[in-house]
């Protein structure tokens, strides 16, 4: 994308006042999004984004500036602005830039960019048709298709030159169903770093059917109970709970600021011995996967918990250097417009040995959570919430009536310590995580698991 000599000059300009590290991040991204609403193509949008960001790091301080333009003058101007954040120091040199090759984990077999838009519209029609076929109670179907190709170049003052392309594809179905005065919604949105071959496995019609079934199921729901009880979280859903409650407080920026409940707890038991958890950016075609993170470090599979014992944090270069550990390759940024920060990638609780059916059968009374709407955590206190979009009562070991309006609330360490059953199944869920104003595509995964006791925030008895 850019000439090597020019990039070397920009890095040198960025280090004119010193700094432990200077880095250039160049990006070109083409994207398509199509929205089908009420059976009609409502909006077809294509975008072309382009820009370069320059960062200079000194300790845990940084300066950052970006430009939409990739000419020499604009890039040198950004380098000057970024370096101005540093106190005056001696200029430092830049090591010769050498290309480092990745493993190509996110290969697109059939790149979405080569597929005519008319085909993409046809997939959305399949979403619509299959969703409406579920029930006459389905009143609204929205299908949203998106693909993008992000081409990245990262060059660092310590000599790294990395080029990596990330193809993304996602199909989302949102369905509204109505019975009398009761209106309910259903959602499903599989996604991957892949080409359109992804839709061979996650057929658009199936995405529509799943979202519609969720909405229709919830029409028969009663208000969720309120108070403390056992909660069984279905396979896939527990990954999001793990992401919110545990993953965010394990991000090294929170730890460094002493704003994490897990600070100082590495090597100690702070979850049930049934919990084995990882953050894994190396899963081929995973929604949160990559070869190199957004500061050019190789991606990794980072073990977070072994038998409930905390193993470490999710690092970027500047926090890892300060803590005296190796980076885990978790520096990510939404685009060239943002500096990288420590983020999760694909965060999973690993399967156990219990038959998931037995987890439910051995639960006398509680709530079964099989659909979720996201969550939020305060990393400093560990208080988190987790929205339930599809839930059921468990009565005498059986899943019974659907419940609506539930939210789970708890504290990270207490809740993860009270997990008393982990199933042998496993499922994943893809979402977009927000932090410091930046969105990041993340995967999460889990087996079926049971939390012996946590607060369910409904309105019922």
């Amino acid at each position: 994308m850019l000439d090597r000599d020019l990039v070397a000059d920009v890095l040198a300009a960025a280090r004119r006042r010193g700094g432990d590290l200077a880095e250039v991040f160049v990006e070109e991204r083409s994207s398509t999004s199509i929205r089908l609403d009420d059976g009609k193509v409502e909006e077809l949008t294509t975008g072309l984004d382009r820009g370069a960001g320059v960062r200079v790091v000194e300790g845990t301080s940084y300066g950052y500036a970006f430009s939409n333009r990739l000419d020499r003058d604009s890039l040198l101007e950004a380098a000057a602005a970024a370096s101005a954040a540093l106190r005056q120091g001696a200029a430092r040199s830049v090591v010769d830039l050498v290309r480092v090759h990745g493993e190509g984990r996110n290969r697109a077999e059939r790149p979405a960019g080569a597929v005519p838009a008319a085909d993409k519209v046809a997939w959305l029609r399949e979403v619509d048709e299959h969703a409406r076929a579920v029930s006459g109670e389905v009143t609204q179907v929205t299908g949203i298709y998106g693909d993008s190709l992000q081409r990245r170049l990262i060059a660092t003052s310590d000599g790294r030159w990395i080029e990596e392309d990330r193809p993304r594809i996602r199909m989302v179905a949102q369905v509204v169903a109505k019975r009398g005065d009761v209106i309910q919604t259903g959602w499903h949105g599989p996604a991957a770093c892949a080409g359109v071959e992804f839709l061979d496995v996650h057929a658009p019609g199936e995405t529509g059917r799943i979202a519609a079934s969720r909405a229709v199921t919830m029409l028969g729901s009663i208000p969720a109970p309120a108070g403390e009880m056992a909660v069984v979280v279905a396979n896939g859903c527990g990954g999001v709970l793990f992401h919110e409650a545990v993953g965010h407080p394990l991000e090294a920026d929170a730890v460094d600021k002493e704003a994490s409940v897990y600070r100082g707890l590495v090597g100690t038991k702070c979850a049930s011995e049934l919990i084995n958890g990882v953050d894994d950016a190396t899963i081929p075609n995973g929604w949160g996967s990559y070869d190199f993170d957004d500061e050019g470090e190789p991606s990794a599979r980072t073990v977070l918990f072994t038998d409930g014992i905390l193993q470490g944090f999710l690092q970027d270069r500047m926090r890892a250097a300060k803590m005296g550990v190796a980076t885990t390759g978790n520096a990510r940024r939404e685009s060239y417009a943002y500096p990288p920060i420590p983020r999760m990638t694909n965060t999973n609780i690993l399967p156990g040995t219990t038959d998931p059916a037995d987890v439910i059968a051995s639960t006398e009374r509680g709530v079964y959570v099989s659909g979720l709407a996201g969550g939020q955590v305060n990393p400093a206190t560990g208080d988190f919430v987790f929205g339930v979009s599809e839930g059921f009562l468990i009565e005498k070991g059986e899943i019974t009536t659907p419940v609506r309006g539930a939210n789970l609330i708890g504290r990270a360490i207490e809740v993860m310590s009270s997990v008393d059953a982990v199933g042998s199944d496993f499922e994943t869920w893809e979402g977009v995580c927000g932090k410091d104003g930046q969105g990041a595509p993340v995967g999460s995964g889990s087996p079926t698991l049971r939390i012996a006791r946590m607060t369910v925030g409904g309105t019922g008895g």
């Binding site: 909006e43 294509t46 382009r50 940084y62 600021k257 939020q376 208080d383 369910v456």
Partner: protein
Amino acid sequence: MAELTDLVRIAVDAARSREQVEAYADETRETEVSALRGEVEGMKFSQGRGLGVRVIRDGRLGYAWAADPTPEEALDTVRRARENAALGEPDEFNGLPEAAPFTPIPGLFHEASAALSTDDKVRRALDLEAAAISSDPRVGKVDLAQVGDAVSRMAIASTLGVEAEYARTDAWVVVVTLAVEGDETQTGYSFRIARGLDLLDHHAIAKEAVERAVRMIGATKPQTAKLPVILDPFAASEFLGVVGGALSADAVLKGRSLFAGRVGEPVGSEAFTLVDDGTLQDGPATCPVDGEGVPSGRTDLFTGGVLGGFLHSTYTARRTGGSQRSTGNAKRGGFKSAPGVGTSNFFVQPGERSLDELYAMADGGVLIDDLAGVHSGANAISGEFSVGATGLRIRDGAPAEPLREMTIASTLPDMLRGVLAVGNDLRFFMGVGTPSILIGEMTLAGV
């Protein structure tokens, strides 16, 4: 670098016959400085601009955008939008607005604020952190102490003669403090916005964040119960954000609003009056025209609890029919998105009552000062509302012991009908403004 007005003109002039073309361009210059442990933690300079083009032909709509395009790339953006339109479905209601005169808004661009130096912003950030960690021995560190400001310009033009351009300045100060006692950590958040950093008192903002953290120390999980709830402006603004989504005519037309078909009916308590006003003097979201060049206006949404109408863009007004006109609520998330329906300055009219009066009315209840998980726990279609909360028990007419790890739940219709009173302490968070709101009964879930 071409002027924004030149850029949109290039795009509009590329229109073919029987084609409506609208071009929107914006550029933003933003500086953000955060301080940590007495040093600059980070300094970020952003300079972005771009162009978005809508093409409508035979009722078919297409959109395309490009970051900082050259004149040739601007023409290519029109070409892509045209291609996208060819794949759209004909919709007789698609169409651009006619040109209409608008009034520039004095003070939207604050000269003195735009001229602040980077050194000045660094000083403010360092001073903000210093103020936050020096007033209470339990608050010795911050999670975030940040100041930021932006100068932005927008231009819009269309083949129907729309031609508008304006500039604005915005600034913000945000701080999150960490209060520590023994093993326990609590956080306190404060945030203010204004036209410029020179108009914000960062000491007062630091003080508020310290108080909000310190008072939470020792918080316990309450018993599950039904009781009166006061949402302070921080919490109420999140609740209102959910209501705002259901008042968009787009949500109504697509069967995604619990207020559909209720115009003229009482849907909230008499104490509840809600307005959207894009022309409000000094309002955070004030602008002369909306995202498609229609002059901003004022819409009475709830008056004494009675639903007065919805927020409209040109498209939703045409589709609704009758005498409905755009309310000037076509909003964009910048050049990357075509206009949709959104709120401007969206606020609850403050009442007469002081906070002390509200506390007296809510004895035994809770004051909620923060909500969590609103994006996942509140559903503007089904009306369900169940979110995480922190706050203080109200006892003997005043906030007393702190509470955590609880949820508050109800339905949006019950909450709106259950508003017993609103306070006199109106405060804006971005475009949403609200005083404290007393709701007669909600379910609080804890132990």
